[in-house]
């Protein structure tokens, strides 16, 4: 985008404007997303419990309910406990919110030659996982600085839970990285182009199982029910945000809904084909950037709708689980992570690797040949497997100790 603006103005101003547009879009995505999701959660929980949910605010369906809630929250008194650590107490919500937003910097919304991404980071998956783990930092600060036992207990539980669930979560996220041969999320999404049979969730039985493990761990790592012990109303009042009120409290909630959205986006891109719909409508209609820039833009727009639609479905499933499944005890939460999710993820990781080696060039449970454009080994493997162009000999042979005479 900066390159586009550079044609019209000074380059420093172009970079500033491009950066501001990206920041504005991301903040709006998180904030408006939270607005919609809170309303959606009320409606879905109402329907599941055979109620109507909000019906009146804003005319039909109560669609302005969250805005009305927001107005109420702004007018609430901003309280701080007497024994609190003032600076940390005030900073904690912003720390959480910043971490939730920062994950969106590296998440692409459309791929192809001109990916829609704020900052194209070539270790994107790794970056997003690293940043998602930082959100709990604000929670710990909030729990400590509130000078309240409920807050401290809630924060400690949440910290233990999130830190534990990052292990299986990372292990699950590695499998698509392995299949795509890249940590670049744009590459991972583009390699699943074509029919839905190319999606990594259907690649083999192991990835199919690991997708559900990923979803469970993602639900736990964003502290949604049935893993919301840290905010269990019946025993811990409200956990780490017991002492918060008004706008500061709502920042925590925006962060929670933001990270729900980002783990669902990650699931959509890693496993569910990202911006590629179940049927490749965009490429069928010729909406690619090879034909025309405007057509490519329309295709990317379709991709954006696809990826956001998949993520919204993911968030809805999380809500459905929340209002259906009873809450686990804290020891059951830990057992689920350490005794079930981690070993299953490890075994499936091994299985996916072996499957890949045994059936190269196949996908959709090994029933179908991968298109040539999708099945590409990464650059390094290619250079190991085949004679490299510039050295005339395989790289393995060029390595010390690996030559025929070196290995005796």
């Amino acid at each position: 985008m900066a390159v586009f603006f550079q044609q019209f103005m000074w380059s420093w101003l172009a970079y500033t404007i491009a950066g501001l547009i990206h920041i504005g879009l991301i903040i709006n995505l998180v904030a408006v997303g939270a607005l919609v999701f809170i309303w959606l959660e009320r409606k879905i929980s109402g329907r599941i419990q055979d109620r109507l949910g909000p019906t009146r605010t804003g005319g039909k369906f109560g669609w302005l309910q969250t805005l009305a809630d927001g107005l109420k929250l702004i007018t609430k008194e901003d309280l701080m406990p007497a024994g609190a650590d003032g600076m940390l107490f005030k900073l904690a919500p912003y720390v959480s919110f910043c971490a939730a937003i920062a994950a969106f910097i590296a998440i692409p919304f459309a791929g192809g030659d001109y990916p829609w991404i704020a900052q194209h980071i070539n270790a994107g998956v790794f970056f997003v996982l690293a940043v998602l783990g930082l959100e709990v930092f604000g929670v710990i600060l909030a729990g400590y600085s509130s000078a309240s036992k409920w807050s401290l207990f809630g924060a400690m539980r949440e910290a233990a839970q999130v830190v534990s669930y990052e292990v299986p979560l990372g292990m699950c996220a590695v499998v698509p990285v392995l299949l795509a041969g890249s940590m670049d999320m744009v590459v991972i999404g583009d390699k699943q182009a074509g029919l839905f049979t190319n999606w990594y969730v259907f690649n083999d039985p192991f990835t199919f199982i690991i997708f559900w493990v990923y979803f469970t761990c993602a639900t736990a790592s964003v502290n949604r029910a049935p893993f919301d012990l840290a905010e269990a109303e019946s025993e811990l009042v409200a956990g780490f945000h017991t002492e918060y009120s008004g706008l500061r409290w709502s920042f925590f909630f925006m962060a929670e809904y933001g990270s729900m959205f980002s783990v669902s986006l990650l699931a959509a891109i890693l496993f569910l084909g990202g911006w590629n719909g179940p049927i490749p409508i965009a490429s069928m209609l010729g909406l690619t950037s090879e034909n025309h820039a405007v057509l490519g833009y329309l295709g990317s727009l379709l991709g954006l709708m696809n990826v956001i639609g998949k993520a919204v479905i993911g968030v809805c499933v999380m809500m459905w689980i929340r209002w259906t499944v009873p809450r686990l005890r804290i020891d059951q939460v830990m057992t689920t992570c350490l005794k079930y999710c981690t070993p299953i993820a490890a075994a499936m990781f091994l299985g996916a690797t072996v499957w890949r080696l045994g059936l190269p060039g196949k996908n959709f449970f090994g029933l179908q040949n991968s298109p040539a454009s999708v099945y590409e080994v990464s650059e390094g493997w290619e250079r190991i497997a085949e004679p490299a162009a510039e050295s005339e000999e395989p790289i393995i042979a060029a390595l010390p100790g690996r030559t025929a005479e070196g290995a005796q």
Partner: protein, 199 residues
């Protein structure tokens, strides 16, 4: 078209200023939780420097390991020292002397090394963009598996012989970490058993 603010320089100065300021705040603060908070900010600003240099993988690594590790430190700091007498730490005179010696020595080495470079060059935009485009984590990953992709461009046979993979170091570090994990689990369990026995 190049006049005005040069953003890489601006963000380099900003990140280093934030890193240095919060590193200093770690030094002067006496509250253990605030200290950890400042440390996290300082380390995060350092990862910003890595991102600025086009090294995304190292930057994400810094976020994951150092910032995440400090997070765990913070958790334990709060959990184990939530009593009032531990939360505020006061440094004695001897500690100050010792830390000044160690820190001053390290700082002197760094300053000497920095001044020893004959010619500092500011990064050029073309070079930075080339790095950002070309640099992927693949060579690092291949190196960890024992195959150095970058040796292909080295002509000299002797030099190439010295550029082995990182497989051995990687394995040693993994085994070391495993031992640390087992040890930590053992210590934690032993403590709990003792507590059960005495109660």
């Amino acid at each position: 078209m190049e006049e005005g603010i040069y953003w890489p320089t601006f963000f380099f100065l900003l990140s280093s200023a934030v890193a240095c300021f919060f590193a200093f705040m770690v030094l002067v603060s006496t509250n253990i939780v605030r200290m950890a908070f400042y440390l996290v900010l300082s380390l995060a600003a350092t990862s910003g420097l890595f991102f600025l240099a086009g090294q995304d993988f190292v930057g994400a690594m810094q976020l994951m390991i150092y910032v995440g590790g400090t997070l765990v430190l913070l958790i334990f700091g709060v959990m184990l020292t939530s009593q009032e007498r531990f939360v505020r730490m006061h440094t004695s005179g001897g500690d100050w002397v010792l830390s000044l010696l160690v820190g001053g020595g390290l700082c002197a080495v760094l300053v000497l090394t920095a001044l020893g470079v004959p010619e500092w060059q500011a990064p050029e935009r073309a070079a930075v963009e080339a790095i950002a485009l070309e640099n992927t984590a693949t060579p690092i990953g291949m190196g960890l598996l024992g195959a150095r992709v970058d040796t292909l461009s080295v002509e000299d046979e002797v030099q190439r012989g010295g550029m082995g993979g990182y497989l051995l170091f990687f394995e040693i570090v993994s085994v070391h970490l495993l031992v640390v994990l087992v040890g930590a689990a053992y210590l934690a369990r032993a403590k709990r058993k003792q507590a059960v026995a005495t109660s």
